[in-house]
């Protein structure tokens, strides 16, 4: 199991390097997905299948959706089709698919060796264990996370307003709208 852990870790590092060195955002996203999936495999190897599954569903899933949205919004019509053909060059998809293939081989090999409950060290953290931990001693942190999300939401909705507020009211005494500084 250790070899699966280290292999996935290595792929995560390589894929993340791919993310930050790619100039095209869509290519970078491809690497990012591979990186997230390899991190999920690291979680599985460490005996945290719940965190691993969440990583796949939330991160890889959400990032995939985001990726699709980006493609939908930024490339429309013939130009988009040409762009997509250009993206399908082997040079571009070879890197991520190679890394993903290694991940797949690792996964199959670990499954082949039987005994799905094996891992690097410690006990298996099931969803129940995570739940009792989160809503027991870590309840404070969960609530703080909720407050944090509220603050982030309010900030984003306030700053992201498309309609600008009216110009500042004209100064009644001087008639000047704005101080010349």
């Amino acid at each position: 199991m250790e070899i699966a852990f280290y292999l996935s870790g290595l792929i995560a590092v390589l894929a993340t390097l791919g993310v930050i060195t790619n100039t095209n955002p869509v290519h970078a996203l491809l690497y990012l997905i591979v990186s997230l999936i390899s991190v999920a495999l690291v979680f599985f190897a460490l005996g945290a299948p719940f965190a691993g599954a969440l990583e796949v569903i939330v991160y890889a899933g959400a990032i995939m959706v985001l990726f699709v949205f980006v493609v939908m919004m930024l490339n429309l019509g013939d130009q988009g089709a040409a762009q997509e053909r250009a993206w399908l060059k082997p040079r571009i998809w070879l890197g991520p698919s190679l890394l993903a293939a290694v991940l797949l081989v690792t996964l199959i090999a670990t499954l082949w060796s039987g005994d799905a409950g094996r891992m690097v060290d410690g006990e298996i953290l099931t969803a129940k264990a995570v739940g009792t931990l989160l809503f027991g001693p870590w309840l404070m942190v969960v609530e703080l996370g909720a407050m944090l999300l509220l603050a982030a939401l309010v900030t984003a909705s306030h700053v992201g307003r498309t309609i600008p507020p009216d110009k500042p009211r004209i100064n009644a005494e001087s008639g000047a709208r704005k101080e010349v500084s």
């Binding site: 944090l148 509220l150 900030t155 009211r169």
Partner: protein
């Protein structure tokens, strides 16, 4: 440790602040009314302050991941007072703002809750969440008047740099965790009993770096003047007072509790940073012609002085830190409060350029008196609270025989005197006849004006008769050192 009813009771102030935030949110969703929302905010913050008195009887108490001890209560009082001042100043400032005004209070309450969590945290998870809950609303508060280029710039700048600092902090935490397998301060302390290894030393250094960004210690200080200048004045006030107090308190807690931070190498690094911060902050302030930028550089210098307490970190250190934080917070509230009042109600960019203040004395004598008192206090002139704070720092340095640090404080104060005096001279110069920005006619009877006047009175009172403050800080500091230290 499971959260029990007792723990919940001890967390009442925090819960009250969070509940107020939710009430404000629901109120905004139901009907927008600026003054009503402000009143709800102020009532909530006051209730939290009153609840702190009850919690003081239970202290010290260790709830899961948060310590409700003297230091936490002390910091919570400072943070709540700063938040109250910011709420009242915000009401004056946003009165004629045409966009939505109520969200400001929601963000302010969230940031206050974050600061309280941060100051009480004894676990790396609450430290991280507290820090984020403090910073996240601040992005929104700084970029609140986002159609103003400078305000948006200040928000984005703080967002990007602070996110980078948080990433570094997280990396430091990960290294400490990898070395010890603990996330709570007590576990970290026992896990690092032996001479700290390279990994935990690197972790401690990275955490120190992340936190010193928030305190704008010198190599990481470049953002401060820009952000202070660009943000709306009430937001800058909160950033300069409550946010810095909370981060410094948690840094003090970390340094006191975890032996990896007591490493001799880290201490000499801290000492060098302290001297650099004092000198660079003061030297850069010399050429500023904008009062908010000047106050930004001056706050950099003041945290350089405060670092002395961290370097010594024994004997009088907790007491000196407490006294200095009280003094610093009052003075900052006063100085930024006057800037806010001059710029209120909101009419575009804040009136912070020094020439706006030229001849202010001849128009607003009492407001000028307040600004003069805060400038004197920042410079550390006797009979103001600032003198008591600086006296403590120098006494601490002399006692520990850190002569370089003492020299840095003295030289820094001497340089500081020049630019504080320059501001004061500007206030009393004859008016040049230009149309100036001014506070509203009846500023003295409004809530914001009362706050500013009260702060100025307190600065003078504590400067002449500091015993109550020192006694209070001693009681709080003693309660902190008892169980956890």
């Amino acid at each position: 440790m499971i959260l029990t009813a007792t723990h919940l009771l001890a967390l009442t102030p925090l819960v009250l602040v969070c509940v107020t935030a939710i009430v404000v949110m629901l109120g905004i969703a139901w009907r927008r009314h600026h003054t009503a929302i402000t009143i709800v905010t102020v009532v909530g913050l006051n209730l939290a302050l009153i609840a702190l008195i009850g919690v003081w009887r239970m202290a010290p108490l260790a709830t899961p991941m948060l310590a409700i001890d003297g230091l936490a209560i002390f910091a919570a009082v400072l943070i709540l007072v700063a938040a109250l001042a910011c709420a009242t100043l915000g009401h004056a400032y946003l009165e004629h703002y045409r966009g939505p005004r109520e969200e400001f209070y929601l963000l302010l309450l969230c940031a206050t809750a974050g600061a309280m969590v941060l100051a009480a945290s004894t676990h790396l998870a609450t430290l991280f969440f507290g820090l984020e809950l403090l910073s996240m609303p601040l992005y929104g508060m700084l970029a609140y008047t986002y159609h103003e280029r400078r305000s948006l710039e200040s928000g984005i700048k703080y967002l990007v740099l602070s996110a980078a600092a948080t990433a570094i902090l997280l990396f430091g935490m990960a290294l400490l965790y990898a070395d010890t397998g603990h996330l709570d301060f007590a576990g970290l302390a026992t896990g690092l009993v032996a001479d700290a290894g390279a990994w935990s030393l690197a972790g401690a250094a990275l955490m120190l770096l992340g936190l010193s960004f928030k305190l704008s210690i010198v190599p990481f200080h470049q953002w401060t003047p820009d952000v202070y200048e660009g943000g709306p004045s009430p937001a800058s006030t909160f950033l300069a007072s409550a946010s810095k107090v909370a981060v410094f308190v948690v840094l003090l807690r970390l340094v006191m509790a975890v032996p990896a931070f007591q490493n001799a190498l880290l201490h000499s690094v801290l000492a060098v940073l302290a001297i650099l911060t004092m000198l660079v902050g003061n030297l850069l302030a010399l050429t500023q012609s904008n009062l908010k930028r000047l106050l930004g550089y001056s706050s950099i210098a003041h945290f350089g002085y405060l670092l002395t307490a961290l370097v010594v970190s024994d004997g009088l250190a907790v007491e000196a830190t407490g006294v200095y934080l009280v003094v610093y917070m009052l003075t900052t509230l006063g100085a930024f409060g006057v800037v806010t009042l001059i710029s209120s109600p909101y009419r575009g960019e804040d009136a912070a350029a020094l020439h706006h203040y030229r001849g202010l004395f001849w128009r607003r004598p009492y407001l000028t008196a307040v600004l003069t008192v805060t400038m004197l206090s920042l410079a550390g002139i006797p009979f103001t609270a600032g003198f008591i704070g600086k006296f403590y720092i120098i006494a601490l340095g002399v006692e520990a025989e850190r002569w370089w640090l003492v020299g840095g404080v003295v030289v820094g104060s001497a340089i500081g005197l020049y630019y504080y005096l320059r501001v004061m001279v500007t206030l009393y110069l004859a008016e040049a006849g230009m149309q100036k920005r001014d506070a509203p006619e009846d500023w003295g009877v409004r809530a914001g004006g009362v706050v500013v006047l009260g702060v100025a009175l307190l600065i003078i009172l504590l400067g002449i008769y500091p015993t109550p403050m020192i006694d209070w800080v001693r009681v709080m500091g003693g309660a902190m050192l008892g169980p956890t230290g």
